[in-house]
Each structure stands twice: as structure tokens, then as C-alpha cells.
Amino acid sequence: MRKICLLIVFLCAFAAWADDYVVLSPSFVPQALLARQIAPGSSRIFSFSTSIGSCDYCNITGNIVSTSEDLQSHYSRDKVDGSSFRFEMNLVDFKWPRTKNTAGAEHWAGHRLGGGLFLNAYYSALLKVGLYPMVVQWLGPLYLAATYDLSYGCYFGYDEDNAMTTDVHESLLTGSLNVGGGTMVFMNNHGLGVGLHGGLRQMHIINPGSRVYTGTDYRTGSRIDPALQDGYHVEDWIYYYGIDFVGYTNIPLLKESNTKNHQGYIFSFEMGTRPDDNPLIYWAFSMSLLL
């Protein structure tokens, strides 16, 4: 119970940090490990991930749409940023080849030509859901993956008092592609793996804007004439790379250790940037459980 409470507090702290303005298709590393079957018999993934997108003094070359009433406002804007906190899981999958010995083996290195089709879903606080099919194929020590994410979200802005309000909102259906690959080294004697991955992905940073006062009533001294400003929807491509730390079980000691199934965990750090001198960056941390 205490552990569950601590976990929830930990996750809520992450959620509180994120403000749900970034949309991108999630990482393919957990699914790659399912396709590899490094933890034989594992079939479920539960992930928590935080993503941050930011751009100071940027010159966005991708699609940028201003949602402000003041159409000129985004031209003067030199900073866009946002973050998100997601819970991801796989719904259905079809993997190849089938794993014959799900109880594990002492020298099991997984399916070197394993692959899979996965249908996954995620929820992001407050009101965003996504569905993303994915394909992964291992070719010896390397794997290739592609996924397309369809997200529908309602994004909230801020009112005159700088408090989040449902009056300023924008509902959007967005799509984002993620193609890439990676490699991983498995230390089977310990049940540890270290991996690198990278690719090209589409990122959206969405902000419906905030309502601010644009004038002052000089008779009363109070601020008047609220107008919606600083809304934007940035859509751009970024190159990214990441490093993965994996722990897993696959030795035939399920019975002896009183464990029902083989399991694994993954910690991934990702960073991304545009290929030119543009300082748009992306940073992510994710924590996954393979069950």
C-alpha cells in the first residue's frame, strides 16, 4: 500500500510538472523489446513518459498557426514551449516468431529476427488520448521501427488572472509520425541491457493562448479590454537520439524464485533537435514495465 501511494505521488509529481502542450508519437523501444522477447512470455507494456519541447528565439520553419485574435502577435513571439505526461500501454499485438519456451532459458538472447505489429494507446492529463499502431523488426543486433500517432486533445489556455480556464480552449486532432531504429547489447548473466536509438519524428507544440488585458480605464485605474493572445500551434520535424537502460529476467528460475512470469523494466532518455542551427529542442524521459 505504502509503495502504491509513493508511486502515485511520484507520478502525480511528474504530471504536475507537465502542462500537456506537446504532442508526438511515443517511443518504440518497449515494443522492440516485446518483439525481441528478451523477457520470454512478456506481452504487456505499461509506460509513463514525460516530454518537453522548447524553443527560445526560434525561427520555426515548419507549420505555425496563430490562434490569437491579435494576428500579428505570434510574429513578435520568440519563445514557444510545452510539455506532456503520458501513460501508455499496448492493446493488441501480433508478434513473430512465437516464443516456445516462455519459462526461460539460461542462454536466451531473444529472437534475433523477431518483429511485431502493435496497436497501442495513451492517455495524457488532462484531456488527451491517442492511438498509435506500430511496426518493429529486428535484424540481428539492430531494429527498425515506425509508428503513426493519432491524438485527440482539448488544450486549455489561461485567463486574465493567469489561471487555467476552460473558456480558452482548443480541440485538435493531430497526427505525428515517428520512424527510426536502434540497437541494444544484452548482458544475459545479469539480465541487463544498454541500448541506443534514434530517428526522425514530428512534434506539435500547442497552446490555445491566454486572455490578457490590452487597455486601462484611466478613470478607475482598472485594466480593461481583454483579448486572446499568444496562441500557437507549431508543427515541426526533429531528429532525436536516446539511450536506454533495461533490466529483465529470462533464466529458468520462475518456480524457484516464486515468480509467475518473466518481466522487465526500461528507463529511456531521449533528446532531439532540429538539424540546422534552430534551437528547437525536445527532451523526454520514460519508464516502462514489461509484464
Partner: protein, 441 residues
Amino acid sequence: MTVGLKNKAALLLLLLVAACLAGCSSVMRPPPAAAYMDSYAKDGAVGSFGLSYYAGDLENGRHENNSYSHYSYAEWWGDVNLASYISGGYFTFGLGYQTFSPFMQMGFVSPYLGLTAWSNMNAIVIPAIKSDERGALWRYSGGGMAIEQIPLNDNWKIGFTEHLSRNGREVYYVDDDCLSIDCKIPVPRPRFYTEVGGGFYVSKKIGNDSRVSLEFRYGRDLDEDRNRFALTLDIWSSTTATLGGNDVMRSMAKKNAKKMREIDAVYADSLRDENGKIDSLHTIKRQWFRIPDSSKTMSLAEHPSDSVTAVTSKGICYDEGSRSVWLKQDYGNTAYRVPVDSFDYCQQMERKVLFWPSLLVGTLSFLPGALATNSGVGGLMIGLGVSVAYWAVSNFALDSEDLVPKVYPELCSEKHSRENVLAWLKQYPCRSEMQSQEAGK
């Protein structure tokens, strides 16, 4: 003793993490080579501690003056190295600290040849963003090294190294008029340079799992044409690896086997009588049983009152011949024997009431929810949602018999007579498979 050491190790780790969070440096020179090479084919992890002394054309004593401040060049003459390496096959991965710089290292390792690369931790937390003045890698130090090792005998090894690296050295920004808040705390800033060089080491075995090495390294600063030397004394030892899933699994299996030996337990699916005939446990609804002592069970023992020790089980059989009862472990797959004279049956298990845990979880979610939404109503909605979700998942998605049982003072307080206990047990005799086969004939 072991617990004390573990606590100290945990405190040290905490201190290191705190030092890292307080402000990591990106200044790094090549790490020692001998401990990395010794990680090959080790079942555990290699933990090393080293001290380095630097000499040669160190950049010291120069000052660059501005109006209100100056840069003081005071390159350090020493470093402390702490590192841990873990190896599988021909691959080794390591994490460590070089004084204030956390770093990672990995590469190929074998008894005679090693190829390794290292980098400070900025590589995994700061994206490589181009800067007009400083290029994309201006926050990183790291490099690569080739190592050739020759074992002379069981005790002595020698090795040769060649490296190419991007090192860092220290520069201090000095606020002469003390205009900034932290002007009195001199924090070193990195200046990077490219170095090429080589060296050699000698290592000796000390004790069963420990070694010590003395390593000399020469490096040529290609940017400023300086010569630097490093002398490193490194000591390391094999420690138990606990990070990997299989390490944990082996440890759990070992603990389980030890406990099974101590309390006469077997795997539930291989329960046998004295003649080697297979018995089977009867499956029942999870129920409480009173046992004499918490040290004689594989299950989690509860003490609803001072005089009562109680466990839950979903499997039972009574072996009349040995006057003992086999109980299945509460959430595992072993069965253990309890003498019938000190055994009693109690109430059926009731799961813990979910209202209070749900309320607690919901309350804990309120504050982060309110912060995230910047609204009290939003926080309340999130708290309520999490609370209801917790209750719903616990209630409907999980098997109620696998949830945490409710423990209350009246549990197992009623004592049954011997006759009642024996009569109750007779409905669950051991060797039931054999009996049913005989009945079938």
C-alpha cells in the same frame, strides 16, 4: 555488520546523487583502464576507487581581466575516481564519478584487448545544440581508448593504453567587486581541449577478489601544445551485482531455497509422501490458519493479537500418517508442513476495505492535480478520478483473493478443540489423487 555496510553504501550513494544534483561538472580526463579490463567475465560488479595526480604544463596562474571580473586559470592537480563496472560477455558498462563529474563508460572487453568509450553525463541530459561560437559538443567531454593487457601470472598484469579524448580543465570566474550573489563560492567552469596520448599500467592481485593498479599516462594537448602527465592509483573489488533482473531472480531463488530448507517446505506441484507418491493439495477459498510460530512459514505471518500468529492459504491437505498439515504459501508456489497439534483453522479471508486507501490515494492526487490545472476544482476532479479509478481497478480488475487481507483483533481468537480440528481436516486428506485412482479401480 552487513546491514550497517549497506546503510553506509546507501548514504554514500545519496551523497553522490545530491552532489550531482547540486551541480554537475563536465570537466573530465580519461578514466583509469585497469579496473575496466578486470570487469571481464566477472559474475558480480567491479567497484573501484582511484586517486589521480596531474603534472606537466598545467594551465595555472594566468588571469584574464575584465572591468569588474576576471578569469583565473587554476587547473586541478588531482582527481578522485569512483566507478562501478558490470560486464556480460565481451561488453562492459560502467557508471562513475570523476570528482564532481558523473560519467558513463562502455565498450568491448576481453582478457587481452579492450576498446572503450566514455562521456560525461551531459550526453544523456543535454541535447547537442549548435552554437555559433562553440559548436554542438561544447557541453561534452569524453573520448575513446584502446587497451592491450598482458597477464604475467595469476597475480600480476601489465597493460598499455592509447587514447584520443576531449578533456576538460578548470577555469574560475572571479567576481572582483562581488556583484553576484554567489561571488564568494568559486565554482570551476570547464575549458575543453583535445588530447591524444598513451600510457601503461601494472596491476596486482590483493586478496581473493581485489586488485590494485598503478597507471601512468601521457597526454598531448593538441589545441594549446601542452604536455600533461597523470599518475593514478586505483583499487577495486568484486561486489554483488543487484541491478539486473537475472541477478535479482537468482538472489530471490537463493533466499527462497534457504528458507525452504529451514522450514521443511517443498514446491506445491512436487509434494510427495514418504514413499515418493505424488500427493496434491486441495484448493480452497483463501482462509486464515493459526500456526505456532512465524518463523515456520513461507507465508507472510500476521499477528492480530499478541498470542496469535496467523497466515492465509488457498491450498491444504492433511497427512494423517505424519500428523501434519501441508499449507500452500500465500502468494507463492511452495507448500510447507505444520504439526497438527499446533494448527487451527480460522475465518475465511476478507480483503482489506478499499474505501480508506482509495480516499488516501485521491487526497494525495489532489495537490499535484490542483498544481497541474492551476485550479482547485480541477484538483478535486483529478483526486476524485484517481480515487475512483483505484477503487475500480482494485475491485474489478484484480482477483479479490489476491488482494491484501483484512487483519482485525478477533481474527483466529476462537480456539477449536482437537477433535473439531481433526474432523475439519479430514475433508482434505493428502494422497487424494491416489485415493481417487483406487476408488476408480
